[in-house]
């Protein structure tokens, strides 16, 4: 697949403060690429530079073969942007908002009306088309905000933390629509500080912190950096003694650590499949009842922790 976005040594400084510090990455056509990092990591600044809103201090980025510094108009025609903060006119209806923004992208006439209907269908607000945006819930506004970015069918869509501050149901709808758009062939650059979203959506992930891209790759490639360590979580009955069970389980070969929190035991194990049978057996021998069990494989949270020494939401 051809690269639709190429970023080379991109730097953005505000006076003495360096918001983006020499990041480089590429996105190939048809993939979902997530920039994962905590608040203030430089995600929004990166999007702002790539969408031609801010000039880079140095470095270069090419989108669909156009330079963001030299061919801004061509870049803007190729991209769609869903900003982190809602950027809509509250006193206009959903239809009027979409119509206005569609015309800003050169759409008009029947093609515009038809496309607005498609987008309203996609974001699930067809029955609210004529209602003023100010009457919408936060989640509905978010969906209109996304709809505006999709109107002109951009080749590359920038989505900057599109699920911040909304209810789980709306978040679910947005994540599903991102997947649907990608299935239709749209390339997506998605920024988030929610590890779960990056894990669910992304073909590849770039982890950004303090303006630097500290890791880049598929989820498998990234978790391999942490090493193969699974976590086995055991929930036991409230009548049983967790400390006694922990004492029994620690000697098992392959268990490297056991932590107890209330009636939950957390076992760190290199290969969960090799310790599962002895753990259940020991519990049964000691007369303890395992109420439920969870197996956690290494995730992006662990990768971030491994690389920075901090949790993602710090």
């Amino acid at each position: 697949m051809a690269a639709i976005l190429e970023v080379k040594n991109l730097v953005k400084k505000y006076g003495e403060n360096t918001a983006v510090n020499g990041i480089s990455f590429t996105i190939t056509e048809g993939e979902i690429f997530s920039l994962l990092g905590p608040n203030g990591a430089g995600k929004t600044t990166t999007i702002s530079v790539l969408s031609t809103l801010l000039p880079p201090t140095s470095g270069e980025a090419m989108i669909c073969g156009y330079s963001v510094t030299k061919n801004a108009m061509d870049v803007r025609k190729s991209i769609g942007v869903v900003p982190q903060d809602l950027a809509l006119y509250d006193e206009l209806s959903a239809w009027e908002n979409l119509s206005f923004w569609g015309q800003m992208y050169g759409l008009g006439g029947k093609a515009l009306s038809s496309r607005i209907n498609e987008v309203l269908e996609l974001i699930g607000l067809k029955d609210k088309a004529k209602a003023h945006v100010r009457t919408f819930s936060g989640g509905m506004k978010r969906r209109v905000n996304i709809g505006v970015g999709l109107l002109h069918k951009p080749r590359l869509l920038f989505m900057d933390e599109p699920t911040v501050g909304i209810d789980p149901q709306s978040r679910r709808a947005i994540l599903d629509s991102v997947k649907d758009l990608n299935k239709e062939g749209m390339t997506i650059l998605y920024t988030t500080h929610y590890m779960e979203e990056a894990q669910e959506l992304s073909d590849r992930v770039g982890i950004i912190d303090h303006g630097e891209l500290i890791a880049l790759g598929t989820q498998a490639e990234l978790t391999r950096q942490v090493g193969k360590t699974d976590t086995l979580i055991l929930h036991i009955s409230e009548n049983d003694d967790p400390e006694a069970l922990a004492k029994t389980l620690r000697p098992i070969k392959g268990v490297t650590r056991v932590d107890v929190i209330d009636h939950t035991l957390s076992l760190i194990v290199p290969e969960v499949e090799k310790v599962l049978a002895p753990v259940v057996s020991k519990a049964t021998e000691t007369g303890m009842r395992i109420a439920s069990m969870e197996i956690h494989e290494p995730n992006l949270e662990a990768v971030f922790l491994h690389l920075t020494g901090r949790a993602l939401r710090d």
Partner: protein
């Protein structure tokens, strides 16, 4: 061009859907005019005036029936509270009083004025035209305009009488009731009666004469209504400037700037939106006051052109605010202060003639001043030719402010995405 209009039209829709904004834009100026109309008793009538004790110097070199009658009109009980008459024999002295701002106007009735209107002995037709001079004080446009109107009303009455007399005498001659040698005697007699009749007209029902000769009444509300309309036009203009900062804060401005729309198109669209909003506001206020207060604003075309020029000047100031100020809150504060200051300076609250000269000089930077001068001139019967100066001043004001604002926007990167 289409995008510029779309951005502008979107702004117009947003403003007219903002109920609080509409109160300021339309309800407040209308309520103020209504209130002032009730207080001064001028609502729907024209029998009173808020203007009083206008100093006027009259030089009567005519010393004949019509000149004397005009002097008598100014000294009549009807005008007693309105004008403060000083009589003089010296035109130069009268002009000096005006130049020194001690008089709002000098009315110089030339020698032979009556003769120019009435046929004299030995002539069957009136004498040639003689110029009656109303030397106006430009720093007191309202007061001097009033004096001009009184004179114009008197002359109009005399002219009507003269034409009537000519018709009567011609018919008497044709029917053989009088002989040609009797014409001067009859003309003088009829003319004197007409002059007295003209003097007896209620001149306080001030009338202006339009260039087409159409007679219009002047209602003092026609001074207040444009004053308040211009005052709240400044609100609209400064608020529209603030809207650029609001759009920046709300994220819609950055969103516009990442669409295939140039920064120049965005800025032009915002200006067009402000302009259309201001023009609509003025048109609505003028239409409503015409219908409800029976105000006569004057020549419709000239009024329309003056509206467009006034809005242009006002929007220029709004743009300058948004180019200089960083936050919508600051812009609102500065805008309110500017609206009130310009309203006071520009004569929205009282006649500028009551203020010192230096204040009026400063007032010329305001669109309120020029708009007020223009609307007043039109209400008194003037046409496009009489408001060239205000139109030019407002247009130049708007242009200069737009150029300065555009440069500031560019320098500060407020609107430039890259």
């Amino acid at each position: 061009m289409k995008k510029i209009f779309l951005i502008g039209w979107k702004d117009v829709k947003l403003v007219f859907r903002d109920k609080a904004g509409l109160v300021f834009m339309l309800v407040a100026p209308f309520a103020l005019t209504l209130g002032m109309g009730l207080i001064t008793g001028n609502l729907g009538s024209s029998n009173n005036s808020v203007i009083s004790d206008i100093p006027v110097v009259i030089v009567n070199q005519d010393q004949a029936q019509i000149g004397d009658t005009l002097v008598a009109v100014f000294q009549s009980d009807d005008l007693e509270e309105l004008v403060d008459v000083e009589l003089s024999d010296d035109p130069a002295y009268a002009r000096t009083l005006v130049n020194d701002n001690e008089a709002a106007a000098a009315v110089i009735i030339p020698d032979g004025f009556t003769e120019s209107i009435l046929a004299q002995e030995g002539a069957s037709q009136p004498g040639g035209p003689v110029k009656l001079e109303v030397y106006s004080n430009p720093t007191r446009p309202t007061s001097s305009g009033f004096i001009q109107t009184v004179v114009a009303a008197f002359i109009n009455q005399v002219e009507v009488g003269r034409i009537g007399a000519e018709v009567i005498i011609t018919q008497l001659l044709e029917n053989g009731y009088i002989q040609p040698q009797d014409v001067p005697v009859y003309a003088e007699k009829i003319g004197a009666e007409q002059a007295i009749l003209a003097g007896n007209q209620n001149v306080i029902l001030v009338v202006g004469i339009t260039p087409t000769g159409e007679v219009v009444e002047f209602n003092p509300l026609a001074y207040m209504a444009p004053g308040y309309a211009l005052l709240f036009l400044m609100y609209t203009a400064t608020n529209a400037g603030r809207m650029i900062l609001v759009e920046k804060r709300e994220g819609t401005l950055p969103r516009l700037l990442v669409s295939p729309t140039t920064a120049t198109q965005v800025l032009s669209g915002k200006m067009v939106g402000s302009y259309m909003t201001g023009a609509l506001q003025m048109l609505i206020l003028i239409a409503a006051s015409t219908i409800l207060f029976q105000l006569i604003w004057g020549d419709p075309l000239a009024v329309l052109i003056l509206i467009l020029a006034s809005v242009f000047g006002a929007v220029g100031w709004g743009m300058l605010i948004s180019a200089l100020i960083k936050t919508p809150g600051q812009a609102a504060s500065v805008g309110s202060a500017m609206m009130l200051t310009f309203g006071i300076l520009g004569g929205s609250f009282f006649d500028l003639g009551a203020l010192p000269d230096w204040v009026e000089t400063i007032a010329k930077i305001t669109p309120n001043y020029w708009g007020q001068v223009g609307f007043y001139t039109l209400a008194l019967g003037g046409g496009l030719a009489q408001i060239v100066e205000p139109l030019l001043a407002l247009t130049i004001m708007g242009l200069v402010l737009f150029i300065i604002s555009s440069r500031l926007f560019k320098q500060r990167g407020l609107i430039e995405a890259k």
